[in-house]
């Protein structure tokens, strides 16, 4: 009689699946409950944002960039504006730099609290989801008060910001910050001392420091593995070089770095605390002065129309480093615009995190990097109404063919 050995099963999840909020395709190889291997496929929600941008002028692109991501609706236009300022050589006034920090940190608070709720939801702790989203509402209200809208802030302008923070706005900001300070303690207790969270999140989805460096993880995902990497400190853009803060790694709270889901929660909760402190520092230190380098938009458009050059904008979004590249060639519209959202870097770290985990841990591990698929999709290949993929071998073959063609 032939004895059959143990075999593994293929478990495809996605691209459209009730458990996923955004289209991404996982191909799991499972042995019982254990994940042996995983393959991630992207490119299901390509929206052609970069192409659309080449039909518009930089001022119009600000609002297009805002719509790359609903949660990072400040980072993308700001990174774009940093890139354009770099390319066109526009100086930003000092007060605008501080205002930019305030809005950036406010967005970080909202994003991290929202993420904390999603993480709780993924492990089935929905009452915490409602608690966090109630807290987030305060931040969103403040955003509406400062910028005019809750989510799509429309605060960015090339060379500064569009709205100032006047002294009569300070009480409302202080009130919100006090609310957060008071309630953050409660939130930290709920997340970090709770037995359920500890049991589900400790030693789950571990990303070692070596893997985090090797796979170029960014943001809280990298910092939770003990990698001291933060564009705010490394690059010192806006007014961050004048402010007093440090890298947040989980050992500040727990004393040691594991790189598991629990550490990612720790890092994000500590970062909320850090953001509150940064906003307070900004409000105290903010100098008086103009908030935008060129208040006449028609004049700014002419300047940008005549500008040539390449520029990059790097910025620490709530999820990690966001990178924008812009090329201006003295035309109405930019010649090229390239966006690299932080999730792009945090996809490969999923593989070491998911291997050897149980199927039931997939949602929390996948959510722990705070993925945003729609922001990440930059490329899709459509041919004869079907999709084809060019992998490394295909590209290599095409490269050889081109060399041969040129030799003839």
């Amino acid at each position: 009689m032939k004895i059959t050995g143990k075999t593994t099963y293929q478990l495809p999840i996605g691209p459209i699946h009730p458990a996923l909020k955004e289209p991404v395709m996982f191909e799991f190889e499972v042995d019982g409950e254990r994940i042996v291997n995983v393959n991630v496929r992207l490119g299901f929600v390509h929206r052609g944002v970069e192409w659309t941008a080449t039909q518009r002028n930089p001022i119009q692109i600000l609002y297009l960039a805002e719509r790359i991501c609903g949660i990072c609706s400040y980072c993308h236009p700001m990174a774009f504006s940093l890139a354009v300022e770099h390319a066109a050589g526009i100086e930003v006034p000092e007060r605008a730099d501080y205002l930019r920090v305030i809005h950036g940190e406010l967005e970080r608070i909202c994003s991290h609290i929202l993420w904390a709720g999603v993480a709780a939801h993924e492990i089935g702790f929905d009452s915490v989801l409602f608690l966090t989203w109630q807290m987030r509402e305060k931040g969103v209200d403040l955003t509406e008060y400062l910028t005019g809208n809750r989510i799509t802030k429309g605060i960015t302008m090339i060379g500064g910001v569009r709205r100032d923070i006047t002294p009569d706005m300070h009480p409302k900001i202080q009130e919100t910050l006090q609310y957060y300070k008071k309630n953050l303690k409660k939130l930290q207790q709920v997340f970090l001392d709770d037995k359920t969270f500890q049991m589900r999140c400790k030693d789950c989805g571990v990303l070692s420091k070596e893997d985090a460096i090797k796979l170029c993880a960014v943001g809280p995902t990298a910092r939770a593995s003990g990698v001291k990497k933060d564009v705010r400190l490394d690059q010192g853009y806006f007014a961050y070089s004048d402010l007093d803060f440090n890298y947040i790694t989980p050992d500040i709270h727990t004393g040691e770095v594991h790189g598991d889901v629990y550490d990612r929660i720790v890092v994000r909760l500590l970062e909320i605390q850090q953001s509150i402190a940064l906003i307070e520092q900004c409000l105290n230190q903010m100098p008086a002065g103009p908030i935008v380098s060129e208040p006449k938009i028609a004049k700014l458009l002419t300047t940008l129309k005549n500008a040539t050059g390449e520029g990059i904008g790097r910025m620490e979004a709530p999820r990690g480093e966001v990178f924008h590249y812009v090329k201006l060639t003295a035309q109405d519209t930019p010649y090229a615009w390239k966006v690299r959202a932080p999730t792009y870097n945090n996809i490969l770290p999923w593989i070491p995190m998911l291997i050897n985990q149980q199927i039931a841990d997939i949602p929390i591990v996948a959510a722990s990097t705070d993925p945003c698929m729609s922001c990440t999709n930059r490329v899709t290949i459509v041919k004869n109404q079907g999709t084809s993929f060019l992998d490394k071998e295909d590209l290599h073959r095409m490269s050889i063919q081109k060399t041969r063609r040129l030799q003839l």
């Binding site: 409660k186 001392d193 458009l301």
Partner: protein
């Protein structure tokens, strides 16, 4: 403490819900009929959360002030503004508008402003309520 959320949940039992019930406390069987009734004055809508100063709602256009410079057309990110050449005035399609108020900022004569009106849902994108001219 092993389950710190318990206290919060018990406290929550005696608190009012955080959510503002808008437009109604309970979902009506048909929203279309409900809004028709509200329009006729038979029913009343709940009170929405107040908008802060500087909120960007429906655009207001002062036609007499407009000089037809077309700068707003140039900066509108969603191309929601149409230029009426014979009149030298503009027409704004709110169904396309993204409420960024960039046209307000660029206008040299300040003929555009944002109101705090935000209830603009409609089944017809060319409804008179959604076209400002």
């Amino acid at each position: 403490m092993r389950f710190p959320m318990i206290l919060q949940l018990l406290r929550q039992l005696f608190k009012k819900p955080h959510t503002n019930k808008f437009p109604t406390k309970y979902t009506p069987s048909s929203y279309t009929r409900f809004f028709a009734d509200v329009h006729d004055g038979k029913k009343t809508m709940g009170v929405p959360v107040e908008t802060p100063p500087g909120f960007r709602g429906k655009i207001q256009y002062e036609k007499d002030k407009c000089i037809g410079c077309q700068l707003c057309l140039k900066v509108c990110p969603s191309e929601a503004i149409e230029f009426k050449a014979e009149e030298k005035k503009i027409k704004i399609f709110l169904a396309r508008c993204t409420f960024c108020s960039q046209c307000n900022d660029v206008c040299p004569v300040n003929c555009l402003s944002m109101s705090n009106e935000f209830l603009l849902a409609d089944t017809d994108k060319y409804a008179t309520d959604l076209i400002v001219e």
